[in-house]
């Protein structure tokens, strides 16, 4: 996935396999992984002759943003999917906390 994010053009399974130089992976393994990621909707693929070319469905940053929104309970559905350390606080309210923090640190 990282390789596909770094490369700006869609790659074939063979090219991806070649770029994963540090590990000796069978081409079929790479193809299986790419295929599975496609089925889960993380990759998009287009036909190029006899091979498929793969590209990420969304950028890495947008996935990180999705996780962060979930983590901070900002997705709007208050499902019990995650348990968080604390919930986000709005700007004005943060001021109250800032004052309490300085008090605590001064003691």
């Amino acid at each position: 996935m990282d390789i596909l994010w770094v490369e700006s053009i869609p790659l074939t399974a063979r090219e991806v396999g070649r770029l994963i130089a540090d590990r000796d992976l069978a081409p079929t393994t790479v193809m299986t992984v790419l295929d599975r990621l496609t089925r889960k909707g993380f990759l998009r693929r287009t036909r190029d002759g006899r091979a498929w070319r793969y590209e990420p469905a969304e950028s890495r940053d947008s996935y990180i943003a999705e996780l962060m929104l979930g983590a901070l309970d900002m997705t709007g559905d208050r499902s019990a999917a995650l348990t968080r350390f604390a919930q986000a606080v709005s700007g004005d309210e943060a001021e109250i906390l800032r004052r309490a923090l300085t008090e605590l640190e001064e003691e």
Binding site: K40, A65, M68, A80, A86, V89, L101, L104
Partner: protein, 301 residues
Amino acid sequence: MITAAVLAALATACAIGSWRLTTARWTYRAPRLAIILWQSLGVAWGLATTGAMLAFGVQPYGIGVLPGLVAFVQGEAPGTAWDPLHVLAMIAGLTSLTVLVVVLISAGVHALRARRRHRTLLALISRDDPGVPGVRVLDHPGAAAYCVPGLRSQVVVSEGALRLWSRDELAAVLAHEAAHVRERHDLVLLPFAALRRALPWSKVVCEAQEQVELLIEMAADDRARRYCSPRRLATALLRFGTAGAMPAPSGMLGLHASNVMARVDRLIKPAPELPRRARAGIVALSVTLVTSTPFLWIIQL
């Protein structure tokens, strides 16, 4: 008739009790007990409300709710003929029972799906950090710390959070998350989140869910303070609150600052524990609630 009336009275009592409990403050002194009381109130309320309708509905059979339902499903003819009122009660009771069960199951499925997607994404984009073994790190400047519950729970912190907190504070936060994992707080939260989906207009249900959310945080704080300095946990909380983790979409944030302050206050100046008699009373009440409603489902008064 008496069974239906008793169940209806019990349902009303549970509703009033829940409403009182949303504003109670002793709960902060014993979050675990309060969570147990909330759970038993929820179970008793659900069984009493549906049971009251069904008890009235199966009255023509002249037996208890559960035996009556069995007879109804098996297509036996009741002792006295059906009349519209009993048919109506039967329909209402069965509908609300189905809604409760379906909502609970769908909430579970929804949470599991969200978690699975979250976990796959984590596998794709998070990394390990030698500084915090066993924790997944997310490359984002905002601060976040949470756990993805499940059989193999994962604790996740963001790059921003690693920079925000000192070493001791981070240890305190991780102890807090480990407590969530250990005590499976997600399972506590699930039915309340489900109920909120089923009854989004009910103020008591919304407040109940918010209370339980706060109480599990307090319970996790209590466990974490055994392993770390409560003061560090308090400063970590405040620092997190002031960091302004991410530009927030509007219309989502409410009383959270006061929740954070409530948690900080009890970490810094712990209130005395509830007296033994009060604790015993709460446990007895919970046990009575949970046992009496199923009992009323089975027997006919």
